[in-house]
Symmetry: C2
Subunit: 380 residues, 2 copies
Amino acid sequence: MINFSINRTAFLNSLKIVKLAISSKVVIPALSKVKISVDNEGLTLTGSNGQISIEHFLPVADENAGMVVNGSGAILLEAAFFDSIVSNLPEVTFDFKEIEQNQVLITSGKSEITLKGLDSENYPRIQEISTENPLKINVGLLKSIFSETSFAASTQESRPILTGVHLLLLENQKLKAVATDSHRLSQRVVTLEKLSENFDVVIPNKSVNGFKSVFSDDTDEIEVFLSDSQVLFRNDTTSFYTRLVEGNYPETNRLIPNDSDYTLDLTFDTASLRHTMDRARLLSSATQNGTVKLTIENDKIIASVNSPEVGSVHEEIDAIKYEGEDLVISFNPQFMIDALKVIQEPEVRIRFISGVRPFTLVPNSESVDFIQLITPVRTN
Amino acid sequence: MINFSINRTAFLNSLKIVKLAISSKVVIPALSKVKISVDNEGLTLTGSNGQISIEHFLPVADENAGMVVNGSGAILLEAAFFDSIVSNLPEVTFDFKEIEQNQVLITSGKSEITLKGLDSENYPRIQEISTENPLKINVGLLKSIFSETSFAASTQESRPILTGVHLLLLENQKLKAVATDSHRLSQRVVTLEKLSENFDVVIPNKSVNGFKSVFSDDTDEIEVFLSDSQVLFRNDTTSFYTRLVEGNYPETNRLIPNDSDYTLDLTFDTASLRHTMDRARLLSSATQNGTVKLTIENDKIIASVNSPEVGSVHEEIDAIKYEGEDLVISFNPQFMIDALKVIQEPEVRIRFISGVRPFTLVPNSESVDFIQLITPVRTN
């Protein structure tokens, strides 16, 4: 039967990580619980919502955990409730002891708390993934690729495939991420240092967000393992499993214009263009079609919105570079705000084909392979 | 027609204060708007929800506001929307100009925004209060009296009088605040330095919270003016009006036990008792009657909760002083947590009469006139 004592803070840190996968709104009651497994090696906590599963291992050897194991076993405890209990214990350490019929006694100072648990046999098994030939990648790099694309994924369940981020390894070292909701698209490509086996998967957007919370140390290197239906991201202490989105991702390469298609080529200060769009959005959100109009003619660029009920905005925008033909185009300013948010470079290059064709945004830098597409809205 | 220019930050600070009274959920449409009045003296913003009204005055003489007035008048603008617009303007200052038919043109840098407003005649008038013989009081002192009592007021509209804080001036200098929801009571008395006219009013709890947000400088002195239906708190720049709760507050003096009634007198460390109650509350919230049981016998004090579904807690509490007879009593631990939160002193004295009679908490200090009452729950 389980019997161990541990440092409270170390335990809570571990619990905090696996709790990221635990939801109280689950169909399977066992999934609202955290699985606590103890053996002579250490303590493993597991949380899952059926889509994402997180395992965190705290080794006996970890000095901060100050762990002493006197008995091994496994049990399920209501995660949110158990977290509040441990958070409120009086001392720096606590004892955790299984007493009978899946009951545990938690002792800390003069406080004795008995909690009813559930047999660990009720917990669903995580499907195993072969852990051979992993892709190794820096956490910070993977996080930024996800951030640069995942916001463009669809939130509509009508086309589930678009609710994920399309992640591919091409030519054994080009990692490409694409997301689109069919109104806008974001595509980022980075070249990895080491060669790995090519792959082609669609990771659910929710799992992308989960990944960002679980792996907090951006300098860390993680291993990525793939099966047909799952991906596993893993470092020394944490295993993050997620199911993949099923189906084939649509071909997106053909959506990206050729350089020769463009008729107008503008470069802006990223931050000041974003502020202009912020102001435009305030008024556009009060209009029927929710768009801002860009009028580019006679060497002037005017952003304007006109809401019959609320008022209007009229603003001249300075371009750093301006080359090409006149154009009038309307689009959702929120899409441009989202696009500009993920551009780290101080300047952004925006190229247009016509008032009814998608336009592209790229950082004004030769070294970054990052392109975004926004589809205009036809007004009147 | 209105025409002025102003520092954006100074304007936003003023708007932030009056917005505390403005709600988008109002029956009278004019109340979702902010009233902007300008004359040669300066700018007055007004916000109101019908219960609370706030006026904030920004004088031309205020150097931080950098105000230049070229035309006076008044207009109503949608408060939340106008706030977002001004927050997003590009420059440090902006121009505000009435153009026609209650329209204003806001100019800042190259940004021009036109907003539709409403005639200021649509704004309800604030009932005037005679500004003679005010009570003068330090903001920090009034805030702490409110904090020490208002949490005990009722949130149930079934007895509206109990949803307020009973505030009285007795003997021309004893300021007394009382609140109760009929399960617990909190009463604080302070003696003021200057004599003023006696009064007896009930201030709605929502207004008490509004007061705390509006007057941010605790060292400030404010004037308090009273009429039959309203109270006005005022300093140089801000006037905070609130309606009073109508009706007579119940007699609460008779609820407070006499010293000779008590049979058990305990003193605890305030913080550690609060932590014990925090743990007890976690389990009590999973029980039917939501109570913690205190068993005081044989020189031991045991706090315990037993939830058949979730588990149990059992904890011995150390008393700093312990004098009197054995007792078993059950109560809602949240009430004790709330009570302990507002006790600044490191020690709390708790005195009991019997297991079925209310018990009292006071800070263990001769100099503070502050008593709280909690009614036990019969659990048979």
